[in-house]
Symmetry: C2
Subunit: 122 residues, 2 copies
DNA sequence: TAAACCTTGACACAGTTGTGTCAGGGTTCG
DNA sequence: CGAACCCTGACACAACTGTGTCAAGGTTTA
């Protein structure tokens, strides 16, 4: 079997065992468990843990930011609400005639449907 | 002129003056300034502040979460990186034949282009 | 069986977020 | 002019994030 225990996974990914447990707790990488409860990290989890390091270091973001981004895609209602609020920030009604506005709305709704379909696919 | 000072804005929105300054600092609602530096809250800012309250209370999120969501749309590179990482989480390569995978990629890229075009519009 | 793992839970600690309050100094307006 | 605003900056404090370490107890394996 090609699954590593938490200490082995820690060594090959650069995280500490403590942080692997924390990352699991915030829901970002959740390894399988053995019959007796041991965490089992497979190749997919190891790769995710490595890219996670790069992602955090390369963009100055935190685990909580990523957890929120994850929540955004699992909760379409939340996503729609935040998107709506943030879109208002960029809006400038003055130079958006009615026709353009409607096209914009249609595109927005299409994007929301796309996102919903994708997250609902499983 | 229909612009309120920070205390007046605080009263009509339910935030404290202190929090209005903090919200400006994190980049979520940035009022205009008078010649002498006073913050001037117009109808648009007041409405944004009220909906901001509802958004935060209604979804158990924080200002920092919203600030990150805002950063996501202003930085397409960051958005693409986080999206890619999170997409891998939902993936299940077993039941995704090559044709579907390519269609998925095309849709993803189209969505990214849409988003980029919209944020770049100004 | 004993070493070397694993589990959860807790204490600890620095840094960030969200908030209040207060000080020192400029602005507006009756 | 003086009261009542506004500004920035700082101290304070609870709650959360990100980490380390240690304790009490179960599992694996030489």
């Amino acid at each position: 079997m090609d699954a590593l225990t938490i200490h082995e996974a820690a060594e090959t990914t650069g995280w500490s065992p403590r942080m692997l447990r924390y990352i699991e707790r915030v829901g970002l990488v959740e390894p399988a468990r053995s019959a007796s409860g041991y965490r089992l990290y497979g190749p997919a989890e190891l790769q995710r843990l490595r890219t996670l390091r790069e992602l955090l270091a390369g963009h100055e973001i935190g685990l909580s930011d990523l957890a929120f981004a994850s929540r955004l895609r699992r909760d379409p209602g939340l996503r729609e609400a935040t998107d709506a609020w943030l879109e208002a920030k960029a809006e400038r009604p003055d130079d958006v005639p009615a026709a353009d506005w409607m096209r914009w709305e249609q595109q927005k709704h299409q994007r929301l449907l796309d996102a919903a379909a994708l997250t609902a696919a499983p």
